[in-house]
Amino acid sequence: MAEPASVAAESLAGSRARAARTVLGQVVLPGEELLLPEQEDAEGPGGAVERPLSLNARACSRVRVVCGPGLRRCGDRLLVTKCGRLRHKEPGSGSGGGVYWVDSQQKRYVPVKGDHVIGIVTAKSGDIFKVDVGGSEPASLSYLSFEGATKRNRPNVGDLIYGQFVVANKDMEPEMVCIDSCGRANGMGVIGQDGLLFKVTLGLIRKLLAPDCEIIQEVGKLYPLEIVFGMNGRIWVKAKTIQQTLILANILEACEHMTSDQRKQIFSRLAES
């Protein structure tokens, strides 16, 4: 029958593993397998090529590649688990094949150790606070993990907290603290009064926090403001008046869908008025 033959011959890219290098910057779909650099030499174009077994140590030289978000190890290949663009970062120094990851657009946050997030205190229980960070369960924050913690200066239920995760894995309840490893606050702690907290997608936060992002510089030139970015998709913004705060919040939310020309137009219009 012609049907099964045509099904086998016309294989979509997902059914055949491709070299990771050739797919950089392209959209990858869940289920695709990617070959790491040293493997693609071993797998010739035909697939099953006989090679003499080499007995020297050089044959086992493997490059250590880090598998980032959206990828999982599957045997000796990488399996794509999320849809997005494949990215690669070269190793800064020393050996290693660098990091591969998938840049995907997501709204839901999953706690990761070391991330700085904005949380809302929801409950006090025992000597810990329960903080809602937008994940699947509330994180716990000890009373003592603030700089200069005393019985008097503690956050209340309903306060905003900027802290980082010290424990965050799939099996345990996430724990966060508001001091760094030296015991200093370093910008973390209770976020002050007033201001506006709003939610955006995780991709927008990463874009705004990138080193060469011009959006924040342009926004800073418009009005004097205080701004806090949480990796869980939450932004807190405060300007001199409520109207300015709302304008800033709207601009940041709309940034995701605007091109840079549209953005410049809006900024110039606001700067005039």
Binding site: S6, V7, S15, P30, L79, E256
Partner: protein
């Protein structure tokens, strides 16, 4: 300040084999898909097959009640709401089929003690409803960023009394058919994930092979649709 409410344009894909009059043979109806159209769920998608349209929303990984939590994987829940009336036994049965398909594909072990909820709303039913629900659920799961080991699609086919196979039947063709079969196939090797059949038939192999050939078109449409979405950012 104007805000964009829809981030993604509707994608219109070509028919399966190109010919517009649907004669006997393998041809699928017109597809369309829109992602990220609802603001509250973590992921949402609307899938259109001809006149059948289903809207899907995914919430997760989110909090789960202690009575429903599973210690080593995510609890997957599917809720299907018909267009009119209260959900009944037929909806419960379809929910179970969709849930089994999603559980085979979603990597639940990465999010233990959480819940992933898929809510499907039937907007219009003009045949091949289960297949359309499966497609909408898959696109919504991808939009929400739930980790999956493969994509999946649903293909329905009807066998009429003289044995001819029609893919993606309309409701009239489903009523007059001798048997209606719906298959869920995965994207890696076109393996069968779920099948739901009704009626008298003898040759499953032929129907499965036709469904596998048709699933290629569906996966190609998924790929184009997702590429279009990511090309805008």
């Amino acid at each position: 300040m104007e805000e964009e409410t829809h981030t993604d344009a509707k994608i219109r894909a070509e028919n399966g084999t190109g010919s517009s009059p649907r004669g006997p043979g393998c041809s699928l109806r017109h597809f369309a898909c829109e992602q990220n159209l609802l603001s509250r769920p973590d992921g949402s998608a609307s899938f259109l097959q001809g006149d059948t349209s289903v809207l899907a929303g995914v919430y997760g990984p989110a909090e789960v009640k202690v009575s429903k939590e599973i210690f080593n994987k995510a609890t997957l829940e599917v809720i299907l709401r018909p267009k009119i009336g209260l959900p009944g036994v037929a909806e419960k049965s379809r929910e179970r089929l969709i849930r089994n398909t999603c559980e085979a594909v979603v990597l639940g072990t990465l999010h233990p003690r959480t819940s992933i909820t898929v809510v499907l709303q039937v907007v219009s039913d003009a045949g091949s409803l289960l297949a359309c629900c499966l497609n909408a659920a898959c696109m919504a799961l991808v939009d929400a960023g739930v980790p999956m080991r493969a994509l999946f699609c649903g293909v329905a086919c009807a066998l009429d009394s003289d044995g001819t196979l029609v893919l993606d039947p309309t409701s009239k063709q489903e009523k007059e058919a001798r048997a209606v079969l719906t298959f869920a196939l995965d994207s890696v090797e076109r393996k069968l994930l779920m099948s739901s059949t009704k009626g008298l038939y003898s040759d499953t192999e032929q129907c499965l092979a036709a469904a596998q050939a048709a699933s290629q078109h569906v996966f190609r449409f998924y790929r184009e649709s997702l590429q279009r979405r990511y090309s805008k950012s």
